[in-house]
């Protein structure tokens, strides 16, 4: 590796930031230098995003100082930070849905010729960046509003790359990326590192951190626990530094109780949506967890939405406990028949961000906590407190607006709602996106517990280890079609990836079943 010219450093010292009663950061010291990738890990609400927001000028530190290349650095706003060479990929998607892919990528740094936009240069630049991320075929004229979260994430990364910053801050960029895209991103990160860029990478997936980081910093409750070279860490030590205690078993044991398989909880036959999915068939029993793997755009979310009634289905048949379901059956009726969905789009659909934790947990079940339409605040309050405790939701009070929680804690609120619905069939679309290891363990345990109570669960995830750790059976989606469902033991990570990318089963050609 050619030695990059380490021309600058960003040094943070004694950074503190308070949100009302919450101390998000307290006296944090950290430094990052060109040509290096620094990974920051920590529990949900540890203050990672807050730190990046301070560096990128979105919020200001209450105290402490920063030095950029030896000069004092106090970005007043994102514009100032950008001008100083700091670009960020935000944890929540942050794009202009009405503008094209090209306009979004080049927003704020359009090549101009005498005040006019130089469309040709702009498109060439976009093409180059997208090609680097292996998405060179993406139509630059598509308006971003029509893209799926996964593709939007790519666009957002492309935008950060287009800014040619010296410091690139990536806040959970991989949480909605497929394996393949993640790999591409890491290759890009390596290249950028070699060009002398400083990269900060946040992820809750420790393998990713291991793959890409040079140094790893663990923060807890707004304070730096330890920062050291990658070689000085191992997974166990990272986890115990994050959580404050060691964790042994990440995935819970499979079910002991066998449920009588007289009726299927969900039965889909050749289900097709207006665009995706195409002719999906599967059967799911109570007490079973069915995993669905696939690349982004493979139609997993669409399948979930069609089952839930959020999108119309065009052809095919669907039954819940032998009751057939058609487009006339409203979401409300589906909920009352025991269906529940955890949306992958937390901010856009999953949560009413300006409302309290309590309200968000109880929206579907208010009628159970009310008499003659009048709500019993005592009961809902108690229930909320229980869920806050069970899921370790980090908050000031049950009445805190959800938008003031950290990303992972928001996810927990969404889960709490789903569980409190007491649905018989749970569709979980990326349930642990943005959730820290400690909480993941808790969530896995809860999912498994739900299954052992006789719930049928569909688990959509782009994170293969959790599919393998949790599911009883697994299917792979490709281009809107669902593969044959097989017990988890008959899959390997390779066979899943092969099927997801090519659409053909490896098994058919190689016949090497484990």
């Amino acid at each position: 590796m050619s030695q990059p010219q380490i021309a600058f450093q960003l040094v943070l010292s004694e950074i503190s930031r308070q949100f009302g009663p919450t101390l998000a950061l307290s006296g944090l010291d950290l430094e990052m230098k060109g040509g290096e990738c620094l990974a920051i890990v920590g529990e949900n609400g540890a203050g990672k995003s807050t730190l990046l927001k301070i560096i990128s000028g979105q919020i200001q530190a209450d105290s402490g100082s920063m030095l950029l290349g030896g000069q004092p650095f106090r970005p007043r706003n994102p514009r100032h930070a950008l001008q100083s060479g700091v670009a960020i990929v935000h944890q929540e998607l942050c794009l202009a849905p009405h503008l094209s892919v090209e306009a979004n990528i080049m927003l704020g740094r359009e090549p101009t010729r005498k005040g006019w936009i130089n469309l040709k240069a702009s498109r060439q630049r976009c093409q180059a960046i997208l090609a680097e991320l292996d998405h060179g075929t993406l139509n630059l004229n598509t308006t971003v509003g029509q893209l799926t979260p996964g593709i939007r994430q790519i666009v957002e990364i492309a935008r950060a790359l287009a800014s040619e910053a010296r410091i690139l801050l990536l806040d959970e960029p991989t949480s909605s990326l497929s394996e393949a895209d993640t790999r591409k991103l890491f290759q890009t990160i390596d290249r950028l590192k070699n060009r002398g860029m400083a990269i900060v990478f946040i992820s809750h997936a420790l393998e990713e951190v291991n793959r890409v980081a040079d140094r790893i910093a663990v923060i807890r409750d707004g304070q730096l626990v330890r920062v050291a070279k990658k070689a000085e860490w191992n997974t166990g030590s990272i986890i115990s530094a994050m959580v404050g205690r060691p964790i042994d078993d990440i995935y819970p044991k499979p079910n002991e109780t066998i449920f009588p398989d007289t009726t299927f909880a969900v039965e889909a036959r050749e289900l097709s949506g207006t665009n995706l999915p195409e002719s999906v068939s599967f059967q799911l029993r109570a007490g079973e967890i069915l995993g669905v793997a696939g690349l982004i755009g493979s139609g997993r979310t669409e399948t979930a939405r069609v089952i839930m009634g959020l999108d119309r289905h065009k052809t095919g048949e669907m039954k819940l406990y032998n009751n057939s379901i058609n487009n006339k059956i409203s979401i409300r009726q589906r909920l009352s028949r025991g269906l529940g969905l955890l949306s992958e789009d937390r901010a856009g659909e999953g949560l009413a961000l300006t409302r309290s934790i309590e309200a968000n947990i109880h929206y579907p079940v208010y009628s159970k906590y009310s008499r003659l339409g009048f709500i019993s605040n005592r009961k809902t309050g108690e229930n909320t407190k229980n869920w806050i405790k069970t899921l370790s939701i980090k908050c000031n009070s049950p009445n805190q607006a959800v938008q003031r929680l950290s990303g992972g804690n928001q996810q927990k609120v969404a889960l709490a709602r789903l569980f409190s619905q007491q649905s018989k069939i749970l569709i979980l679309d990326e349930p642990t996106r943005g959730v820290d290891v400690g909480a993941k363990v808790e969530i896995y345990r809860l999912i498994r517990q739900q299954a052992s109570e006789g719930k049928a669960i569909i688990l959509i995830s782009s994170y293969l280890p959790e599919l393998f750790g949790l599911c009883d059976r697994l299917a792979v989606m490709h281009s809107g079609r669902l593969s044959e469902i097989r017990p988890i033991k008959q899959w390997t990570e390779e066979s899943v990836m092969h099927l997801a990318t090519s659409g053909f089963s490896e098994i058919q050609s190689h016949k090497n079943i484990h």
């Binding site: 009663p21 409203s330 009352s336 009413a352 300006t354």
Partner: protein, 355 residues
């Protein structure tokens, strides 16, 4: 992991006081200002003048209660002014052309505006259009219908059919009918009941009902949820369409009540051009009261105060001898000022809580 619940009680308390006091502060400032301006005359700070102001804010207030619900649900209703006109015309017509007793005419009037509101709601829900556009259309449609029905001119309710209580509805001094009722109460309560005009009692009663249904019922929660994030509400199985339609229908009903008050105030006249521009005044009241046009936020008490503030201004200007042009400018400044103050207060109260 520490769940640090409210570990700074002082900040919380200040914020709570400020939250309640926001619109109140504006009202007090306005009253103080005019009391000072009219210090040489003692006509402004009189019980009678306050009763006048209170009665004058009833029409805007009633409609603004409905509008508060609509705004909280993330919508807007521009058609309220036209609805008021339509109600006065229809009510008067029923008496003039069909000789119905007034109480029945009132019911017809309410039915008309309630259906008007329901039409708004259905169009918004079924056609999937922005409330601004639908109600911009119905603003014209209802106004046109009022003109058409009234043949472009005022419709007078026949004098011989007018009951005595008509003039008592919007009377500034309590009429004998209502006194008969209030006399039944023990002395201090009866005195209070008598001092406050009937229309103001009505407004307060309606406000209480709206407040209860907004804050204590599941329906109220759903309204707020829809205003906060419609997709979430849908996902949670809330019947978004039904709730929206109900909100606009209730807004129509309350605006219909406002229309009846208008009818009574005009001593039984149906006027197709009355209340034009009322919508902006109503929205101003709601917004001064602390509601957010982005949905999800709004306060019943705030709305009432918002309606009062504007009437205090108008009345105060007359008492202080300020000409109409200056009145307009003052009102404009107050609208911006009150909301800016509110914003500032909120920022202060949650300082450090947001980015």
């Amino acid at each position: 992991m520490k769940n640090s619940i409210n570990n700074n009680p002082r900040l919380t308390r200040i914020s709570a006081i400020l939250a309640a006091g926001g619109p109140f502060a504006g009202l007090l400032i306005a009253i103080t200002l005019f009391a000072w301006l009219t210090r040489n005359e003692n006509t402004f700070l009189t019980e009678f003048n306050f009763r006048t102001i209170a009665v004058q804010s009833v029409i805007v207030g009633l409609s603004a209660l409905g509008m508060t619900l609509v705004v909280i649900s993330g919508g807007i209703d521009l058609s309220v002014g036209s609805q008021v006109a339509l109600v006065t015309v229809v009510t008067s017509l029923m008496g003039r052309d069909y000789h119905w007793p007034m109480a029945c005419c009132f019911i017809v009037g309410l039915l008309v505006s309630t259906s008007g509101g329901m039409i708004n709601g259905i169009a918004i829900d079924r056609l999937g259009l922005l409330p601004f556009i639908v109600t911009l259309g119905t603003l014209q449609i209802f106004r046109g219908s009022a003109k058409l029905l009234g043949k472009n001119t005022a419709v007078y309710f026949p004098t011989e059919l007018k009951p005595t209580w008509l003039s008592e509805i919007m009377a500034i001094e309590t009429g004998p009918r209502f006194q008969l009722f209030t006399q039944g109460f023990p002395a201090p309560l009866g005195k209070i009941l008598t001092t406050v005009p009937f229309a103001v009692w009505l407004l307060m009663l309606v406000a209480l009902l709206v407040w209860i249904s907004l804050r204590k019922t599941t329906w109220g929660r759903y309204v707020v949820a829809i205003g906060s994030n419609e997709a979430t509400a849908r996902l949670c199985g809330i019947r978004v369409g039904m709730v929206k339609i109900s909100v606009y229908t209730i807004c129509g009903l309350l605006t219909g009540l406002a229309g009846l008050m208008q009818f009574a105030e005009m001593n039984g006249t149906g006027d197709p051009v009355v209340a034009s521009g009322l919508e902006l005044e109503v929205i101003a009241a709601v917004v001064i009261g602390g509601a957010s046009l982005a949905g999800g936020e709004g306060s019943i008490l705030g709305t009432l105060i918002g309606a009062l503030i504007m009437r205090v201004l108008r009345s105060g200007c007359v008492h202080a001898g300020i000409p109409n042009a200056t009145q307009d400018i003052l009102i404009g400044l107050i609208i911006v000022g009150a909301v800016a103050l509110d914003q500032f207060r909120m920022r202060l109260a949650r300082r450090g809580l947001s980015h």
